[in-house]
């Protein structure tokens, strides 16, 4: 950093001083102008203009230097050596670790970066700006790190859990770069390996009913028995109808909540809803509709887990550059100014098929296949548990035979 820049960095008030000086010069000139004849007024105006022209570049320079100094200060903070720590670099990921623990941490970040680098296809977005801090052991140790550092701190975790936490942290740095529509489906950790078993449960049970948070609401959206699990698109999706799966996830192509609700739950959905608050009841359909419209995103029978898993699958199938395609595909029509037309539904099949580089039908068929294959194996897990129990029972019987209070003499 240049000395001049540091001077500005140390005294950021200098920019304000310049502005004040400019104002102090112009103000008396203006006051004099009010009292002067026309020719003097013109002269004063010209002098003021000249002063402005002279000082404006100085002000811009001051602002620029101040900004550069701030950026430098933030970078210096990121590079600041914390006693007892080391830093490792994996691709664009910079990770603070305790001294001597870099090599243990490196494989986790290499795996995470390998997972995302192909999807990004050489476009690392702003990952280099994100600093991670990683520790894993039997005890959590205290360390004092800048607030912007993303901490990954695990105690006595399995390697798979550690890897998942690292992937999760890296995914969290990427999610904010997604457009709003894509982020809504991907959740906070885009590209995270999904738990298809949890998704299978959602396919059977339907999504968790939303909890309402509005003034005067009961705080609980009460639905008819099996409303979510018996939703027509969900039932059809379970039976292999891929179009129904898109609809069950919320990609209906409708621009109205009433049409969506009718599609998901039938026309009489509204009358089953318990009073949401004063004025909302079975006799006030319009109020109910307005109230539940706030929860439109939470009402599809397939919820966050399903949608995020579909995004992950699309990224996996799309391979190289899939995440970039996911970000760049708009999925809605725009007006002449490039803005989204109001009320225009988002074409999620287009967005995801673009990311996956396959057709929407093919993508959803593969998703459904994986979800069905992840059906919980109750018999298998019970068999494993029984086998372990038999081993322990045998050991305890052996101990009981060996250990005795029968003593002679």
């Amino acid at each position: 950093m240049s000395r001049r820049a540091s001077a500005f960095a140390l005294k950021p008030a200098r920019a304000g001083f310049l502005v004040g000086m400019l104002a102090s010069l112009v103000a008396p000139l203006g006051a004099a102008a009010r009292q002067a004849p026309d020719e003097e007024l013109a002269l004063v105006r010209a002098r003021a203009q000249a002063e402005l022209l002279r000082l404006t570049p100085l002000l811009a320079e001051a602002r620029s230097a101040w900004s550069a100094a701030n950026t430098e200060r933030v970078n210096a903070e990121a590079r600041r050596v914390v006693n007892g720590t080391d830093t490792i670099q994996v691709g664009p990921l910079r990770v603070i670790v305790f001294d001597g623990e870099g090599e243990a941490a490196r494989p986790y970040f290499e795996n995470a970066w390998a997972h995302y680098s192909a999807m990004l296809d050489g476009d690392p977005l702003s990952l280099p700006q994100r600093l991670f801090a990683f520790q894993h052991g039997f005890l959590r140790r205290k360390w004092y790190l800048p607030a912007h550092v993303k901490r990954i701190e695990l105690v006595w975790a399995r390697p798979a859990e550690v890897q998942r936490a690292v992937n999760d942290a890296v995914g969290r740095t990427l999610s904010p770069h997604l457009p709003q529509a894509q982020r809504r489906w991907a959740g906070s950790t885009v590209g995270q390996e999904p738990s298809f078993e949890a998704v299978y449960r959602e396919l059977v049970l339907g999504a968790a009913p939303p909890i309402l948070h509005c003034a005067g609401c009961s705080g609980h959206l009460r639905l008819p028995r099996n409303a979510f699990s018996a939703s027509a698109p969900l039932v059809a999706c379970r039976q292999g109808d891929t179009d129904a799966c898109w609809a069950a996830m919320g990609a209906t192509g409708n621009g109205e909540i009433a049409a969506d609700i009718a599609l998901w739950y039938g026309d009489d959905f509204g009358r089953w809803i318990e009073p949401l608050g004063p004025g909302c009841g079975r006799d006030h359909d319009s109020y109910c509709e307005q109230a539940i419209s706030y929860f439109w995103e939470d009402l599809p029978p397939l919820g966050d887990a399903s949608r995020a898993s579909l995004i992950s699958l699309a990224l996996e199938m799309g391979g190289r550059g899939s995440l970039v395609r996911l970000i760049e595909t708009r999925g809605y029509r725009t007006d002449d100014n490039g803005r989204r037309i109001l009320g225009e539904p988002i074409d999620y099949p287009e967005i995801l098929s673009s990311a996956a580089a396959v057709g929407p039908d093919e993508l959803m068929t593969e998703w459904l296949r994986r979800v069905q294959a992840a059906k919980p194996d109750r018999a298998g897990t019970d068999r494993d548990a029984r086998f372990g129990a038999i081993l322990w029972i045998t050991l305890f019987i052996a101990l009981a035979i060996r250990s005795t209070r029968w003593r002679l003499g």
Binding site: V204, R222, R225, S229, D382, I393
Partner: protein, 225 residues
């Protein structure tokens, strides 16, 4: 010989066992009470029905563990009370004696297991299971039986050993985590490193990963996907 041992054990635990049989029969019925009723007035999703049922789930392993503990502790009651004179007077090896005694207790664990199976069958017959869900009465009963047997075997082995061995095992299993909890609670301010220790997490990890208690965790649902 086996009959006598079975009778002695039965005599020692019959009232407790009767209570356990009733509880094992009732528990599945209680866990499905939210299912059923008038569809026109009922509210809640399948998910919430399972959520209500899951509130009862922790009681299944607790009941199985209780049965195992009571049977295990009572197995050697008469032997300890009369200083093992009866056992030593028998013309059989210790191995055979222990096996018969353990078998007697294992047979007794079948009673609450049968109660649980009957209760589960009655429970699933009494409700209409929502589409997409299945009942697992046999799996639940199997898990229950093996959980009870595991805890019974553990206590049986402890009770068969010397007092010193029993004390050591109990201190290690229960005492150390409790000690760590107390240390973290009372000395945490003076020694900040203690606050980093999480005995509860350790115990859960031991339960889940290995050890005889692994069967106590897992899926105990009677009705599931």
């Amino acid at each position: 010989m086996g009959k006598q041992l079975l009778f002695i054990h039965w005599k020692a635990v019959r009232w407790a066992l009767a209570t356990f049989v009733v509880a094992a029969f009732a528990l599945p019925l209680l866990s499905v009470q939210e299912i059923g009723g008038d569809a026109a007035t009922a509210s809640g999703t399948v998910r919430s029905i399972l959520g209500n049922a899951s509130e009862w789930l922790p009681l299944f392993p607790v009941l199985a563990a209780s049965i195992g503990l009571v049977l295990g502790m009572s197995a050697w009651h008469w032997d300890h009370r009369y200083n093992h004179v009866y056992a030593l007077s028998l013309p059989i090896s210790r191995t055979r004696y222990v096996s018969l005694k353990f078998g007697a207790g294992a047979l007794l664990t079948l009673l609450p297991a049968v109660g649980l199976l009957l209760g589960s069958l009655v429970a699933i017959a009494s409700v209409e299971i929502p589409d997409g869900l299945r009942a697992y009465p046999l799996q639940l009963t199997g898990r229950f039986l093996f959980a009870a047997l595991t805890l019974y075997a553990l206590l049986f082995a402890l009770a068969a050993g010397t007092v010193r061995t029993t004390a050591i095992v109990l201190v290690v299993v229960w005492g150390l985590p409790m000690l760590a909890l107390l240390a973290a609670g009372y000395l945490g301010d003076a020694f900040p490193a203690l606050q980093s220790i999480d005995p509860g997490y350790w115990m859960v990890r031991v339960l889940e990963d290995f050890g005889p208690f692994r069967i106590l965790v897992g899926n105990w649902a009677l009705i599931d996907v």
